[in-house]
Symmetry: C2
């Protein structure tokens, strides 16, 4: 939380903490790298189709940060179509990476940290059981005047129940078994749980 | 992070995570209590002079949450005066409570989570060495159209260097001593450090 030297830190635009070990922002530029170092990131979820810039890749290598790229196009014709440009399956894949604590601390970003990032954080909040009014309030806080009704509809209709049930099923199953297990048996259960988590990661609604 | 039942959670208005163990919001209402429970708060920093409502006090007692109240008046004549209504000494006292990890997880709130809360979070960001542009961006994200130039000036002119130096001095002193100390001597140092932290808590610029 506290810096030891007097160098002023510059977070990326639209930076914020989402939850413990989860951050969001617009595209990080080199002047933001000293700040990003303080977060001790383990991974970055990048939501644009454009290749990651070389100097950003260099920074990731130097900090041993894993890049998860989910190429979602920025919206082209904002007013001409009522359909969302956000693909559900891609956001679901990104959500699975996002809620896996082994990837934390993680930074989600797109270009401006408003729409694509806002949609992913929105479905995370639904996964966390937030009411829709609060999810929308948060989306709008970051999108401001650029808020899109299609994004709000995307978040509203996105189904997280199946994924949550799948995850809870696995956790509950092993939690119950491990309760009565010996130390050796617990290690075996751990390996089985890892395999089940692979299934969960390939979950499709 | 995850709820185990299907009850939808309703965070207070303008709720957000500020940093690890630090949250901000507008005034929490009873429908927000189930959500607040998930944060496992140890304390609340309340920035208004009005008495805390009985049902909120009841909730705090049931959850064993400590209340720190710093009565700062809401601004009355927004446009007639260039002076800030935020008292520096009070914000400094609140900042000292806020950065003390023994009070974490902590929720900061005022009435709407915009001005008084925005000023306290603003000086925290200066304490964390954030550049002023990023501090202002964050203030404005929550204040929106209600952003006040007097608040931004308050944050800009607030001096955190003295407090930081005082805190770092204590930490550095004991860190160095404890490095070479025996277990028994370390306990003694711990007691002395606690006393020094009292001095720090009474720090006045």
């Amino acid at each position: 939380m506290i810096q030891d030297d007097n160098d002023v830190l510059e977070p990326p635009i639209n930076f914020s903490t989402v939850d413990e070990g989860i951050f969001r922002s617009g595209f990080p530029q080199p002047p933001n790298f000293p700040f990003l170092k303080t977060l001790q990131l383990r991974s970055i979820i990048y939501l644009c189709p454009e290749p990651y810039p070389e100097e950003n890749l260099e920074f990731l290598r130097s900090q041993n940060i894993q890049l998860f790229q989910f190429g979602i196009e920025g919206k082209k014709k904002a007013s001409s179509s009522a359909a969302s440009s956000i693909p559900k399956q891609t956001i679901l894949e990104a959500l699975k990476v996002l809620i896996d604590v082994r990837n934390h601390p993680v930074l989600i970003h797109c270009k401006r940290g408003k729409h694509r990032t806002g949609c992913l954080v929105g479905v995370l909040r639904k996964f966390q059981n937030w009411c829709l009014a609060s999810v929308f309030e948060e989306y709008q806080r970051f999108a401001g005047a650029k808020s899109r009704t299609t994004d709000l509809r995307f978040i509203e209709t996105f189904d997280v129940v199946g994924l949550r049930d799948c995850l809870y099923g696995i956790i509950h199953h092993y939690y119950r078994l491990a309760y009565y297990a010996s130390k050796k048996r617990r290690l075996l259960l751990y390996t089985q749980a890892q395999q089940d988590m692979q299934t969960y990661r390939h979950y499709k609604p």
